[in-house]
Amino acid sequence: MNAFFRKNLLSAATLIVILIFFIAAAQGMNSQDFVITFLRGLSVGAVTFLVASGFSLIFGLLDVLNLAHGTLFMIGAYIGWTVFVRPDTFADLLTPFALILSGFALRDMYPLLSARVRLGLRMRRILPWALIIVSVLLLGLILPRYPIAGWNLDNYAESPVTYSFMASQGTPLPPPTATFDQISPALAIGGLLLASLFGSFGLFLFDQSVQRSPRLSWRSYAGFVVLLLVGLIAFIFNSALTAFLLGLNANWLFFIAVIVATLSGAGLGALMEATLIRPLYSRPIYQLMLTIGLSAIGVQIVQAVWGRPEFVMPKPTLFNGSGASCPATSFSSWWQGNCSTILLLGGRVRTYNEIFIPLIGLLVLVAVWILLQRTRLGMIIRAGVQDREMVEALGINVRRVFTMVFALGVGLATLGGALAAPSMGLSNAMGESFLLNALIALAIGGLTSYPGAALGSLLVGLIQQFIIKYGQIGISIPFTSIVLKPTPPIVPASTVLLMVIILLIMPNGLLGKKE
Amino acid sequence: MNHDIIVETINLSKQFGALVAVDNVNIKVRRNSLHAIIGPNGAGKTTFFNLLSGNIEPTSGKVMFKGSDLTHQPVHRMIHHGIGRSFQITNIFPNLTVFENVRLASQALEKSNFKFWMNVSRLEKCEYRTWEVIEKVGLKERAHAPARTLPHGDQRKLELGMILAPDPEVLLLDEPTAGMAAEQVPELLALIQEIQKTGNKTVILVEHNMNVVMSVSDIITVMHLGKVLAEGTPAEIAANREVQTAYLGGLYELNV
């Protein structure tokens, strides 16, 4: 015990100092302000944690500083918005996505196919290029003509901002149902499938080195069949699906939106790791440049698709009520009235922002903790963070684990984005600011420590919110009559200053492992 | 003070948590001797060595060099006192040429290291010394090849060259033959012996392969479980029952 204390003296001292500051901060603030500010801090902390924990897992295991993480967080928010506010767009997109991906699911079959095809050397060289060109041409012909209900950035009345506003007002959207008027449905479906098959086979053929003959089992086809079925069903029952989603209870729709955002984030992460990050493990600096480049691309895509103006995603009905019984006085009355606010210790607290998000943050914290501590994958991840070579030496397929961790990390970020969208709104800059928050949180808590990510995020959230609050009410400096009102730039400065101080005292952060 | 003793450790100990890696070790190394430290795996040789070279700080005890206390000197001062060390795992500048590697080593004692406006080739003494050392370790033909392209044996020679270049009085060699092909070992040992004899240098050598040291060393210290088990001439050590049991207990063959 004594030895433990002595070893962690520095961390303990730092924590005590922070605690003293915190108690000092609570002085001169009435209890309802305190509760609200505290809960807001928890809320920002929870979202920061979702970004930071994924970042830290990726950095710890893969040594990749994923500077695109903030952008991915932002993309998660926009995907969640799309599914929630424009489910018809989502239903329309399902078919082409599933069809384009389906060809890649047949990966295991291609070696067999390429072994069957007997061609001269020259043809062998031309063939992949030809296939890819045909595939790109097909996609270029079909996709612009494929009907997808969407929005129009140039026309304000049909822009995401307007749709978002209408949805939050409860006005039903007049969905301009997209119809196949430029291309016949059969041609579109067949063409997309063909393009996918050609494209994936062509890409496969580039890689001449694959010579192993695979054992074909039902698994080799399962992915393809599932994707094909999803695509076709979404196509045939498109209008029914759209009607179903539009008629769905907004709570369930929100749930679906969050799930879709998380899963597409995970998919995006896996794709990114497999194609772009993996080639660069031997050159860490280039990963920086790559992720910076990807980040710029991501922001541009978001600007091109969803536009530059900021808007807020409506809250699910569970947190959106404003009936006679609101603000709720207890949780049971909230449950009955689905109030957007609740009275806690005299303060009006927003149920979604300040209760729901911290709870989800806690849930994710525990879930990932269990994943890390109790499962085989978690064990491999933890061991890999400690000593990557050793895990490789044990004959574990580290590559696949890497891809999974990357997918998990990005999935956590997009989950955070989708959850943050109703409370913090969607903007092109949200990614960058939360990436900075997450970096600071990790530097404070320890770059590769999972509990450190939680602690750091919590501190960052709380400090920011308290400083903002003091910007409004002013802080009286002890023993003087001066009332200091921190100006807005002090908010980032306070956390940055904390980071610099903590790093100078403890280069590995509060909970980081010692070298 | 006995001027015949150049390096001395006084009750040197190092603890890692509960593990006592080096336990009250007292060793006296005579000037111009080739002193080998051997022991089975886990005997604490490498830790002891790191204590000697200042890479880690001891929990207690002192390292004395020519009568002065060097225990808390920063690592980069050691060579200025005249102590150079090599590493068990080849530790060179992989992307620089052999010549650069050795020159960096010999440049360390130059006075004009901060003359950033001067071309480095104008340090003529340093240049001369570099060629001398490269010739001595037999890497003249490969002098302008990047160090990473060298075969392992040559990298060990380069490592040796890098500690010879600043001309230290005491050479600390951490398993100089580690990972070398068996037929290259005698060549390197002969080189070490020649350097020690002709240059009037003190060599402290860590090995876990006993055969290597028997033929070349003047004094052998055997370490076991962090303590000194025995000390003496090769013949005495070979005859020592305790040493035999320690090595046999560690499942190690002793075929002298």
Binding site: V210 | V75, F93, F114, F116, V120
Partner: protein, 348 residues
Amino acid sequence: MQKKAFSFFHNNRASLIVLFALVLLPFIVGLFEGASPIVVWENQGGISKFVEGLGIEIFILALYALSYDLIFGVTGLLSFGHAMFFAVGAYLTGIALKSFALSLPAVIGLVFLAAILQALLFGLVLPRVKGITFALVTLGMASMFHIIVTSSELGNYTGADVGLQGVMVPSFINPANERLRFYFVALVVLILIYLLYQRFVNSPTGRVCVAIRENEGRAKMLGYNTFAFKLAALMLSSFAAALAGVLHALYQPIVSPNVADLSFTVTALLIVLIGGVGTLSGALIGAFVYRLLDFGLRRYIGENASFITGTIYVAFVLFIPYGMVGTWRLKSFRVAQGWRRLLAAFKT
């Protein structure tokens, strides 16, 4: 003696040709427009003045990137706070000229002192933090500086969010009337710093810096106090970056707080990576390519330019990993390798 001179010209013929071309460039561009060299000399040419302006921007950017290459490429220190080095020079110049009406030599002296001070500030954390933590601490310091210059409390001096404007530039170097002279001054400063850096890399100090990049622990064991060498590199780098800042403040009508931002450090990183890490000349070529690319894309494509620049960076990383100069020296493109790496994703 004659032979020595000849071999100097022979060995450096490529650099000399480039230099010669840069000196003549404003006049040649003027000729295309039909303006005689005399007109250009009197700063009246329209398009040649524009080209001079672009050239000045490139020289400033190149100087800044060069200074980053010295600490990142040569010494191996990853700093995310390099923009601060530049911004301190720019803001100090602007404030000293505008609010305190100091003379230019005095300003440069002041900037020199500030450059040393900020290098010492970074040096303060050097022994404690390494690698990515150093990057984060420097990022923190630069963010603090960014916050200070954008805070409204100092708005009278720094111009807060808008940036510093209305700097009275001494008339003999005023970029509006004496742009050609400014062009040559910037060129000369860039060349001098470049030559100084070349000397540095080949000096005893510089060789140790390279050794630190390669294997810091070993450099320490060889008997070098690596901290002192890193600090020396930081100082030299800080000085050149601050000098670039001085030129920036003199040339641009407004010093925007963006130059203290993380993205400006990233600009330096990208330029160095495009040109080739640790090559010095790569920073010059990288700045040229970066600025022209940025200019061209913005002009012809408009808003979505950074989508294309982002794609180009990604392609660079995958296919030209050693940068332009590095690839030139290796005489081999890594395109085939890049493809293979990308396609390796299809193997499980």
